[in-house]
């Protein structure tokens, strides 16, 4: 069976680095940190008070009516906001496709957790009669896709993918498959997350997963560095418009890149710790390379999962060495989480946007705060400063709690 080629025709992002694609990308190239102090919170209730929070964001009323804004948790706002920007770039709304052939599949790890937290407080303090009829639609993970379908009349496949920190990456892989199989002509995909709340921080903190470098927010996320001591929670979204490449070409769309490979495996090992020998991640990357029809040496850049946790960064480094051999030392790697924090279920969306920009702009965003790489981390992680480089193939890793792994390979578009 001949599979359709998959084009990326629109991208957008929001995170601590900025509220639109250009801001996010330019600040990433400049090596800025999007991590800041979470202000006005009770230190007794918030052991960690730093995050990659989105700043000064207000969704446009053209995208979400004023009356509706308070009814949907923030992850839905981010998804709609970025979808609007990515759609404008892609020109998809003028493509004339059958609405049933345009889908929306978005990843989110926790959905509208802050709204659940607030509603639970209402329920406990004031009883069940005070729980809003809009509570359930405000937080369910698939409501980002749902609202996108309603706003833009996309009547194709519509659902959410939830695989913790691999959610958006899985959503992209699933969406690409929909197009490869001819089941959809175009999809909105990627992911969205906004869970910087007291309860989620308390939960991740209890696992000792978070850095507590509260006094130096900008230095806290330091993947592969000796002094890394946990990840920093980020929030935001990364959205991609995927399209049947032949159809995109026929309508004269600008093709940013191609999705050519996807791998997806499970560690089958531990609820939160990565398999130390990469039993899940190594075959995951190999699957993606195989589907792309390329050799390990063809990869120019890896946007690593690289969360800045002591064990995770070493496990990923070892897995990369196992897959790439000597070439592991030649290719460029970076963890943009050093600047954005970890967007959890949206990470794979945002980082795919970085991968695609790296291809189109020929520049690799850096791993900031990498002052002294730890001994086991001896690859080229693009420390501190962006690097200009001609890029044909990039690989993005996203791994999640539950031992879930996904890898996506993007390719520079050539006719």
């Amino acid at each position: 069976m001949q599979l359709n080629r998959v084009a990326v025709t629109g991208i957008s992002a929001i995170c601590g680095l900025g509220n639109n694609l250009d801001q996010v990308w330019n600040n990433a190239l400049a090596g800025k940190s999007g991590i800041s102090e979470i202000k006005d919170v009770d230190p007794d209730k918030w052991p960690v008070r730093i995050a990659g929070s989105v700043k000064d964001f207000q969704i446009s009323e053209d995208i979400l009516a004023a009356k509706e804004q308070a009814r949907f948790d923030t992850f839905i706002h981010y998804a709609l906001h970025c979808t609007d920007e990515a759609l404008k770039q892609s020109g998809l709304l003028d493509a004339g496709y059958d609405p049933y052939m345009i889908g929306s599949v978005l990843g989110t790890g926790l959905g509208g957790f802050p709204f659940i937290e607030n509603a639970h407080k209402t329920y406990m303090d004031r009883g069940p009669r005070r729980v809003s009829p809009f509570f359930v639609p405000s937080f369910i993970p698939n409501m980002a896709s749902g609202k996108i379908s309603m706003k833009w009349n996309f009547k194709g496949t519509n659902h959410a993918v939830s695989s913790a920190c691999a959610s958006a990456a899985h959503a992209i892989g699933i969406s690409a498959a929909e197009i490869m199989l001819g089941r959809q002509d175009a999809l909105v995909t990627g992911g969205s997350e906004s869970v910087v709340s007291g309860l989620t921080i308390a939960g991740f903190n209890a696992m000792k997963a978070l850095s507590r470098r509260n006094d130096e927010p900008e230095l806290a996320s330091r993947p592969f560095d000796k002094d890394r001591n946990g990840f920093i929670m980020g929030e935001g979204a990364g959205i991609l418009i995927l399209e049947n490449l032949e159809k995109a070409k026929a309508r004269g769309a600008t093709i940013l890149a191609e999705v050519v490979g996807f791998g997806s495996t499970a560690d089958a090992y531990h609820i939160t710790s990565p398999h130390p020998d990469g039993e899940g991640t190594i075959p995951c990357m190999q699957q993606a390379l195989k589907q792309a029809g390329i050799e390990p040496k063809d990869i120019d850049y890896i946007n690593a999962h690289g969360t800045s946790t002591p064990t995770g960064d070493i496990a990923e480094t070892n897995a990369i060495k196992a897959v790439f051999g000597e070439h592991a030392y030649n290719l460029s790697i970076s963890s943009t989480k050093s600047m954005t924090g970890h967007l959890l279920g949206a990470a794979g969306g945002l980082e795919s946007v970085f991968c695609i920009k790296a291809i189109t702009e020929g520049e690799i965003p850096p791993t900031i705060n990498l002052d002294n790489p730890s001994e086991e981390c001896d690859l080229n992680y693009t420390p501190k400063k962006s690097v200009k480089k001609e890029i044909k193939y990039v690989l993005n890793n996203s791994f999640g709690f539950g031992g879930t792994n996904s890898t996506t390979v993007f390719k520079k578009y050539e006719e």
Partner: protein, 76 residues
């Protein structure tokens, strides 16, 4: 504040429709396009603002600003 003014204020805040466009005879569904969830939320706000409990079987009869105002007057 008169009961009706208070009702209009609550409805205006919930719907973001300017209070000057909401009249006694304004119908929640026909004029303000409210759906069933909007109606439940609206009645919850009325209950909170007026410190009353509106029985669920009553809400179906409350179709306009006037209906709500009159009902609130009877139970207050």
């Amino acid at each position: 504040m008169e009961t009706i003014e208070k009702v209009i204020k609550i409805v205006s805040e919930a719907t973001k429709v300017d209070a000057s466009n909401i009249k006694a005879e304004t119908n929640f569904i026909d004029d303000l396009n409210l759906d069933s969830l909007d109606m439940v939320e609206m009645m919850m706000k009325m209950e909170e603002e007026f410190g009353v409990e509106i029985p669920e079987d009553k809400t179906e009869d409350l179709k306009t600003i006037n209906d709500v105002t009159n009902f609130l007057k009877t139970i207050n």
